[in-house]
């Protein structure tokens, strides 16, 4: 299972903080972003950063493993 996490303004648009997505062999980050985009297009439009297991990832072709944690994040505004 892949765990998708949503924070702040993205969580507001998705209306949840967490979503479990069935893992299949050969799955890439693109597959997950596509799925989230189909379900919540308004949320994806404000996503500026994606992290896989707490590390920012820019390549959508990144291969995923079972139990990976994918975070969808808007621009940061701490401090």
């Amino acid at each position: 299972m892949i765990k998708a996490l949503f924070f702040g303004p993205v969580a507001d648009r998705v209306q949840t903080r967490e979503m479990d997505i069935e893992y299949t062999d050969g799955m890439t980050l693109h597959d997950i972003t596509h799925k989230v985009g189909m379900l919540h297009p308004g949320a994806l439009s404000i996503v500026s950063f994606i992290a896989v297991n707490q590390e920012q990832v820019h390549d959508k072709q990144t291969a995923l493993n079972d139990n990976d944690e994918i975070a969808f994040m808007a621009k940061f505004s701490g401090g």
Partner: protein, 141 residues
């Protein structure tokens, strides 16, 4: 001794943070600090509260990296970063950064660099509560 990098709900003591920084080395000749606090006005609106949300595990890891990088880049003797993640009122403390170096120039430069990098790199979001409703802050300079 508290951890030099923390995310916490409760307020922090600047005196305690500076004392901990000073305790790390007697070669420290300059300490620069930054205190970020909550304003009651933003983008032309009154702000009654600010609430923070973080991707805790990633935010803490990124803050630790940031401190290590600052120590190495500016030849610091020590540095501390504390960020509150809770709901604060106007005037309340939000973030504290301290940089200790042999001389003042490195301390000033490192302190400025750390808060600027924190705003760009650390997954924390703030939501302002105003009389017109709540809104997520995109980014302040």
């Amino acid at each position: 001794m508290t951890d030099p990098v923390r995310i916490q709900q409760e307020d922090f003591s600047q005196d305690a943070e500076i004392a901990a920084l000073k305790a790390s080395s007697k070669r420290m000749g300059g300490i620069a600090t930054f205190l970020g606090c909550a304003r009651d006005f933003s983008e032309g609106r009154d702000v009654s509260q600010i609430s923070f949300e973080a991707y805790g595990s990633m935010a803490l890891a990124e803050m630790r990296k940031l401190r290590e990088e600052a120590i190495s880049k500016f030849d610091l003797l020590d540095a501390r970063i504390v960020h509150r993640v809770t709901t604060v009122q106007a005037g309340d403390n939000i973030v504290f950064i301290a940089a200790g170096a042999a001389h003042r120039a490195a301390a000033f430069d490192a302190c400025r660099w750390m808060i600027d990098e924190l705003k760009q790199r650390v997954p924390i979001w703030k939501k302002e509560v105003t009389p017109e409703g709540e809104s997520w802050v995109t980014q302040h300079p």
